[in-house]
C-alpha cells in the first residue's frame, strides 16, 4: 500500500472531511454510550435538545462557542506556520488575569471604548508574552515548542493560583480563591437579554473574518503559509522565517489571551483557577476540525460547544458520564487526521 499526493485536492473533499470525521466519532462513541446501558439514539437526542432545545440552551451553547472561536483561531494561525502552540490554555489564563487585574481599577474612568480596547490589548499582550518565550527558545536554541508550551500551561495555572490567592485576591469572596471582579460598568453588554450570551460572540466572529482576510490577502498571510509548508524554500524565496514565526507567535498567543480577557469581561467577571473547561486544548481540536481555516473555526467551535453543553444536559437526563464529550472530541480529532489524509492523498496498492 502506498500513498500518493493528489495533484488537485478537491474542495468538496476538504469540506466533507470534518463531517465524515464527526460522523465516525459519533458512531464509535455510540458503543461507549451503550456500555452505560443507554441507547445512543436517546443520548444523542438528549444532547441535541440540551444544546438547542430552548432559547436558554442556544444562548448557552453560543456563549461556550465564543472563547472556542478565539482559542481555535490561536491554534489555527500557529499550526498553519508549523508553530506548535499547545499552550492555548495557559495563554487564555494569562489574558484573563491581565483583564481582571486592570479591569478592577486601573482603566475604570476611561471612556468605555478606550477602556475595552486597553483591556483587550492587555489580555492579548499577556497571552502573546507567554507564547513568545517558547517561540524564542525554539528560534534561538532549537528547543521544541510543543513540550515547552505544554509545560508553561502548568506554570501559568499555578501563577493564576498564586495571584488569586495573593495580590489579586477578592476580599469579598468569603475565602474563595477568586480574583477581584472587573468593574461592573466594564462588563460586555448582553446580546440576548436574560442570558449569558454577550457581544464577545460578535467580536470573535469578526476576528475570524479579519484573520481570514489577513491570511488570504496580505503578504504576512502568504509568508506564514510558506514558512509552514517548506521553511527552507520559503527562506530561499526571501521570507524572513524568524520574524514571521515571531509575528505568528504574537498573533496566536494574543488570540488565546484575548479569549481569556473576553471570558472575564463577558460571562464570568473575575478569574478562578477553574474558569476554563479546557478552552485551550479544545481550541486545538477546533482548529484541526476546521482544517485550519478561519471560517471553519467558527463552525467547528459551534459544534464543539454543542457537544460539551449537550453532554452536560444529556448526562443529567440519562446518567451517562459527561466525559463522553471529551471522548467524542478526541475521536473526532483523530478521525479528522485520517479523513484529511484521504482527501489529500490517494491510495495506490
Amino acid at each position: 500500500m502506498r500513498f500518493e499526493r493528489r495533484e488537485e485536492v478537491s474542495v468538496a473533499a476538504l469540506v466533507l472531511a470534518p463531517f465524515v470525521a464527526v460522523l465516525a466519532a459519533l458512531v464509535l462513541c455510540a458503543g461507549l454510550i451503550a456500555m452505560a446501558g443507554v441507547s445512543p439514539w436517546t443520548a444523542y437526542g438528549e444532547m441535541l435538545t440540551g444544546a438547542f432545545g430552548s432559547r436558554l440552551a442556544v444562548t448557552e451553547t453560543l456563549t461556550r462557542a465564543s472563547p472556542l472561536i478565539l482559542t481555535g483561531l490561536a491554534a489555527a494561525v500557529a499550526f498553519r506556520a508549523r508553530l506548535w502552540n499547545i499552550g492555548g490554555e495557559g495563554q487564555f489564563y494569562m489574558g484573563a488575569l491581565a483583564a481582571a487585574a486592570l479591569g478592577h481599577s486601573v482603566v475604570v474612568g476611561l471612556p468605555l471604548p478606550l477602556a475595552w480596547a486597553a483591556l483587550a490589548l492587555a489580555g492579548m499582550a499577556a497571552g502573546a508574552v507567554l507564547l513568545l518565550i517558547p517561540a524564542l527558545l525554539r528560534l534561538r536554541f532549537g528547543v521544541d515548542e510543543v513540550v515547552t508550551t505544554l509545560l508553561l500551561n502548568f506554570v501559568a495555572l499555578l501563577f493564576v493560583g498564586l495571584m488569586v490567592e495573593g495580590v489579586l485576591k477578592d476580599p469579598m469572596a468569603f475565602g474563595w480563591p477568586q480574583s477581584v471582579p472587573v468593574a461592573a460598568g466594564l462588563r460586555l453588554p448582553d446580546l440576548v437579554p436574560r442570558s449569558r450570551l454577550h457581544v464577545g460572540l460578535v467580536l470573535a466572529v469578526v476576528v475570524a473574518g479579519i484573520i481570514w482576510l489577513v491570511q488570504s490577502r496580505t503578504v504576512f498571510g502568504a509568508e506564514t503559509r510558506a514558512a509552514g509548508l517548506n521553511p527552507r524554500a520559503a527562506a530561499f524565496a526571501g521570507v524572513p522565517i524568524t520574524a514571521t514565526l515571531a509575528k505568528v507567535a504574537i498573533l496566536s498567543g494574543g488570540l488565546a489571551g484575548l479569549a481569556g480577557a473576553v471570558e472575564v469581561l463577558g460571562p464570568v467577571g473575575y478569574v478562578t483557577t477553574t474558569m476554563s473547561p479546557g478552552f485551550g486544548y479544545a481550541g486545538i481540536v477546533v482548529a484541526m476540525l476546521a482544517a485550519l481555516h478561519p471560517v471553519g473555526v467558527v463552525a467547528a467551535s459551534v459544534f464543539v460547544a454543542t457537544v460539551f453543553v449537550g453532554a452536560d444536559a444529556m448526562s443529567r437526563a440519562t446518567g451517562v458520564p459527561s466525559f463522553i464529550a471529551d471522548v467524542i472530541m478526541a475521536v473526532a480529532l483523530l478521525a479528522m487526521l485520517v479523513a484529511l489524509l484521504f482527501a489529500t492523498y490517494r491510495v495506490r496498492t
Binding site: V143, L151, F154, V155, P321, V331
Partner: protein, 313 residues
C-alpha cells in the same frame, strides 16, 4: 541553610527520591524507546493516565497488584498501537496524533472510571504496594534504607533501565531499532521492515509508559483521580531530550528531577513565607531550563518525526 543541608543527608529524602523517580523512569524509558525508533509519542500523558486508571481498577475489582500492572501495560500497548497505526503506515503528523492520543486516552480513562466506579465524598481506595526489604542487602547502612527498601515496581524500573540499555546497545534487535530511528531506508536495504519495527517499538514503549501511570495509583497513592498525572508525561518527554536519548542518562535525569522535587517538598515545610505555588512551578520551569541547556548539543535521532514511505526520499 544548615536546615537545607540537614535535609539532604537524611536517608528518608533519598528513599523518597527513588519513589518519586519511579513513574518518571518508566515514562522516560517508554518515550525513549519510541523516539529511538523515530516516533515522537506525545500520547504519553494520556497513556499514563489510562495506565493509572486501569491498573487501579483491576486491583479494585479484586485483581492482584501485579495483574493490575500487567493490564495497564496492555492498555498502554493498545494506545501505542493506535498511535503507531496513525503515524507509521499512514504517516500522519506525530505531534497532532500524539496529542489526539493523549486527549483520547485520558478522556476514556475518566469516562470509564465514572461509569464503573461509584464515587462518594472520597474516591474509593485499594491496598497499595508496600515497601519490600531485599533480604540481606537492606541491612547495609544508609544504602539499604535508600535503595533496598523500596516498593517492588521500583526495582522493576531500575532493572528495566539496564535491560533497555542492554537491548538497545548490545543486541541485533536494538541495533535495528536504533537504525530505524536514524535511517529507515538503510533498514529496508538490510531486508528488515522499518514499518513493523516502528510499530512494535511504539507499542512496547507505550506499555512501559503506562506502568509509570499505574505506579501512581498502586504505589504512590491508593486511588485514582482526574488530572493526577499532572504533566509527568510532558516532563518525561523533556527528560528524554535532556538524557540525549540514552537509558543510563535518562535514569540520572529522572533521579535529579526527583531529588529536586523531594527537596522542594521538604523545603516547603522549613521555609516560610514563600507561596507554595512557586515550589510547585519549579519542576516545570526546571524541565524547560534543562531543555535549553542541552538544546545545543542534543543528538536527535536523525529520522525522528520523519514518516517512512517505501521508495520515497
Amino acid at each position: 541553610m544548615t536546615e537545607a543541608f540537614d535535609i539532604l543527608t537524611t536517608a528518608s529524602l533519598w528513599a523518597a527520591v527513588l519513589r518519586i523517580a519511579t513513574p518518571l523512569i518508566f515514562g522516560v524509558l517508554g518515550a525513549l524507546i519510541c523516539e529511538r525508533a523515530g516516533v515522537l509519542n506525545l500520547g504519553i500523558e494520556g497513556i499514563m493516565t489510562l495506565g493509572a486508571m486501569v491498573g487501579w481498577l483491576t486491583v479494585f475489582w479484586g485483581g492482584d497488584l501485579w495483574t493490575g500492572l500487567a493490564v495497564a501495560v496492555l492498555a498502554g500497548m493498545l494506545m501505542g498501537w493506535l498511535h503507531a497505526m496513525l503515524t507509521v503506515p499512514l504517516g500522519l503528523s506525530q505531534h497532532v496524533s500524539g496529542l489526539g492520543i493523549t486527549l483520547f486516552a485520558s478522556a476514556l480513562a475518566y469516562y470509564l472510571y465514572r461509569l464503573w466506579v461509584e464515587v462518594g465524598d472520597l474516591p474509593p481506595t485499594i491496598e497499595p504496594f508496600q515497601p519490600w526489604a531485599v533480604p540481606g542487602l537492606s541491612s547495609i547502612p544508609f544504602v539499604g534504607e535508600v535503595v533496598f527498601t523500596q516498593m517492588p515496581p521500583t526495582y522493576v524500573a531500575l532493572i528495566l533501565v539496564v535491560l533497555v540499555a542492554w537491548v538497545l546497545n548490545r543486541t541485533p534487535m536494538g541495533l535495528a531499532l536504533r537504525m530505524t530511528g536514524e535511517n529507515p531506508h538503510a533498514v529496508e536495504a538490510q531486508g528488515l521492515n522499518p514499518v513493523r519495527i516502528r510499530i512494535w517499538a511504539v507499542m512496547v514503549g507505550s506499555g512501559i509508559m503506562a506502568l509509570g501511570g499505574a505506579f501512581l495509583t498502586t504505589a504512590t497513592f491508593n486511588s485514582f483521580f482526574p488530572t493526577m498525572v499532572q504533566g509527568r508525561g510532558w516532563i518525561c518527554i523533556a527528560l528524554v531530550v535532556f538524557a540525549s536519548w540514552r537509558p543510563g542518562k535518562a535514569l540520572i535525569g529522572a533521579l535529579l528531577f526527583a531529588l529536586f522535587d523531594a527537596f522542594q517538598l521538604r523545603l516547603q515545610t522549613v521555609v516560610e513565607g514563600v507561596p507554595y505555588q512557586l515550589f510547585l512551578m519549579a519542576p516545570y520551569v526546571l524541565s524547560i531550563v534543562a531543555l535549553v541547556l542541552v538544546a545545543r548539543r542534543a543528538r536527535v535521532p536523525e529520522a525522528l518525526m520523519q514518516p517512512y514511505r517505501r521508495g520515497e526520499r
